[in-house]
């Protein structure tokens, strides 16, 4: 579903991403681990065609994203670290707007309320202005947009950083439910615990290169930590 083939991105003389190969199938949660500047966000940006690859190719559902960026975006949902919404509009209005942009048509009100419910935002919150929302609540609205879109793949950029533990765990379960429904997920993080908890596969990135790709079920939390620290040291 999400696929990178020899993906390379250079900014001037600096190589941000070096010949990355990835293939994430439906139902998989692939977690990219790495320090700041390892190339995680660059990978996400390349999947969204916000930047153009220097070499290699990115495919979503078999379509090259540089060839038809708008069509490929219909299949993915992107959830940034900081979800930003229109502060003067209510949560429901934000959901209404963004879901209509994603689908090209407005959803009926009942469906919107149902989506709010699915991400466990109550009706009281739905009508409050978003400027009063916490970070987690804003993120839930955005997940509701992803649900509305019925995206086949999720791209997540540091989704849990800055969330309180309860919100983070709520988020993880939402993600798991989605992947059980056949969604392919690519998420970046530097939170090892979260990676181990949610991911089915884990990749470790260093200086633009994927240095390790593991099956999450086959490695323990402590081993993962040791492996990660070892890579960072080298």
């Amino acid at each position: 579903m999400l696929r990178a083939i020899g993906l390379t991105k250079t900014f001037g003389a600096q190589t941000a991403l070096d010949r990355l190969d990835l293939d994430i199938r439906p139902g998989e949660i692939y977690c990219l681990l790495g320090a700041n500047g390892a190339g995680k966000t660059t990978t996400i940006n390349l999947f969204l065609n916000f930047i153009a690859p220097s070499a290699g190719e990115v495919q979503i559902d078999g379509i090259d994203v540089t060839r038809d960026p708008v069509a490929t975006k219909q299949h993915v949902a992107y959830i940034p670290e900081q979800v930003m919404l229109y502060g003067v509009l209510s949560g429901l209005e934000n959901l209404d707007y963004f879901s209509s942009l994603a689908l090209g048509k407005r959803l009926p009100r009942e469906r919107l309320l149902q989506l709010m419910d699915e991400v466990s935002l109550d009706a009281g919150a739905a009508h409050k202005r978003v400027s009063a929302y916490s970070k987690g609540m804003r993120q839930k609205i955005w997940i509701a947009v992803a649900l509305a879109k019925q995206a086949k793949a999720y791209l997540l950029d540091e989704p849990t950083s800055g969330l309180d533990p309860q919100a983070a765990s709520e988020f993880s379960s939402l993600l798991k439910r989605a992947s059980e429904g056949g969604v392919a997920v690519l998420t970046t993080t530097h939170d090892l615990f979260h990676a181990k908890q949610t991911a089915t596969r884990i990749g470790i990135m260093k200086k633009g290169r994927l240095v390790e790709s593991l099956d999450s079920a086959q490695i323990g939390q402590t081993d993962l930590q040791a492996l990660y620290l070892q890579h960072m040291r080298d």
């Binding site: 930047i51 975006k73 219909q74 993915v76 949902a77 940034p80 930003m84 229109y86 707007y97 994603a102």
Partner: protein, 465 residues
């Protein structure tokens, strides 16, 4: 999709204070301008009409007198103030509206209202036109400067684009939202103006005034559209809202405040007008050489009114003198006025990049307060003056010249005066004005295309990051 984006932008703007305070300031000014304009105009027009009627009555009720003295008393031509002067007085404050049609010389328009005002007049006139030309773009900028920049700064733009929305759809959606909020704000003012203009127009000219108003409104719509796309383009091209605002304000000041003055200086330089002395010398020289030729042919002398022209030829001589002058006046005033029009055309062309100059030309043109309309009036008045002269001279040739050694002893009566019809001037129709303003309208259109191209390029190239 575009409608969805526009709907959200409108919803958001409706909850933002900017639309209300900026909009209400502009609205209040617009309504003051309309009220003041209407009050002043109804007074001026009534007065002009009364004066014009009185003038003709005075003409008809002349005693028995020599026709040339009647020509010296002459008639007045009062320029009827255009119905749309309420909306855009144009050059009205700087050009008089009173002509005294007298014997011998083509008269110049007198009594410029600005000369009866204080120096503050030079800051501008509070009219709908001034508000739209100067403050209109500012309103657009205040509403639209952060349309893209703010969403890029806080990351919403990135999210929106990740949903598969194309940047161009965003551009059109935001443009639509801006246009809709301006329309919501300005439509009441436009309707009020339309009513006031129709009320103020002479009987039977209401429809014409409405047509002119519709065209004028179209011009301002184009003008504001230019700034909508400029604001969106700059907003998309700027790294932050602050940069966008700074750039847009600089462009606005350059356009609305600096450009008219600089372009006036340049056009004056490019197509210089003669000085008063040069002009009157050229006129005198032209008149003299034409008359010399005519007098030499008719009387064998170039000396005017001397001993070689007997009194029984004075009627004929007067006619000759007048009629040889007509072509000279036509040529020299024609040249001067062509210079004015060339100066203005040069400035209108600069409207491609400085749209205020194009919209100013178009607005005045449609309001009937520009130089082309003034020229039409002056020409009509001068034609009337010549008609008076010709009727008087013809009568002298027929009745005074046969008297032999008498000339000024001859007196004509009311039958002669009534041969001259009253001066009844009606400004040309809307379609005439539109045809003459097509250039400035196309320049406005061209300018819109340019900004549209700029906005397209800026939006497509903009970084989501």
């Amino acid at each position: 999709m575009i409608a969805l984006i526009a709907r959200k932008d409108l919803l958001e703007r409706g909850r933002d204070g900017r639309l209300y305070w900026a909009g209400s300031v502009v609205l209040v000014l617009l309504f003051i301008a309309l009220a003041v304009g209407y009050g002043r105009q109804s007074e001026v027009r009534a007065e002009q009409k009364a004066a014009q009627a009185l003038d003709y009555k005075d003409w008809l009720s002349q005693d028995q007198r020599h026709p040339h003295d009647a020509a010296h008393q002459g008639m007045h031509a009062f320029k009827p103030e255009a119905a749309l002067a309420i909306v855009d007085p144009g050059i009205t404050p700087y050009i008089g509206g009173t002509l005294w049609l007298q014997a011998h010389r083509q008269s110049e328009v007198k009594f410029r209202p600005a000369q009866d005002a204080t120096g503050l007049q030079r800051f501008g006139d509070l009219s709908v036109g001034w508000i739209m030309q100067v403050l209109g773009p500012l309103l657009v900028i205040v509403l639209g400067f952060n349309a893209f920049a703010a969403e890029r700064e806080n990351g919403i733009l990135r999210q929106t684009l990740s949903l598969g929305v194309s940047p161009l759809q965003l551009l059109w959606g935001k443009a639509l939202a801006l246009a809709a909020s301006l329309a919501a704000l300005l439509t009441p003012a436009a309707l009020a103006a339309a009513v006031v203009v129709t009320l103020g127009a002479d009987a039977g000219e209401g429809l014409d005034a409405l047509q002119r108003f519709a065209a004028l409104a179209l011009g301002y719509a184009l003008y504001l559209a230019i700034f909508i796309f400029l604001a969106l383009g700059v907003s998309a091209a700027s790294s932050t809202s602050r940069v966008a605002l700074t750039v847009l304000l600089a462009l606005w000041i350059g356009n609305a405040v600096i450009a008219p003055r600089v372009m006036s200086e340049l056009s004056r330089h490019w197509h210089p007008s003669p000085t008063k002395l040069e002009f009157s010398k050229a006129l005198s020289a032209g008149l003299k050489s034409e008359a010399d030729r005519a007098w030499q042919m008719a009387f064998g002398t170039t000396e005017r009114w001397g001993r070689d022209v007997p009194l029984n030829k004075w009627g004929y001589a007067l006619q000759l003198d007048d009629q040889t002058g007509y072509a000279v006046y036509d040529r020299l005033y024609g040249q001067l006025w062509d210079t004015y029009e060339r100066q203005q055309a040069l400035q209108a062309w600069s409207g491609l990049v400085l749209p205020v100059l194009a919209v100013r030309a178009f607005s005045m043109g449609m309001a009937g307060t520009d130089f082309v309309h003034h020229r039409d009036f002056t020409t009509a008045a001068e034609t009337h003056r010549r008609t008076i002269q010709d009727i008087m001279s013809r009568d002298l040739v027929a009745n005074a010249d046969p008297l032999g050694n008498q000339h000024f002893a001859y007196q004509a009566g009311p039958e002669l005066w009534s041969q001259v019809k009253p001066f009844d001037y009606h400004p040309p129709a809307a379609i005439w004005a539109l045809r003459r303003s097509l250039m400035s309208l196309s320049i406005l259109g061209g300018s819109l295309l340019l900004t549209l191209a700029f906005a397209y390029a800026a939006v497509v190239r903009q970084r989501a990051l």
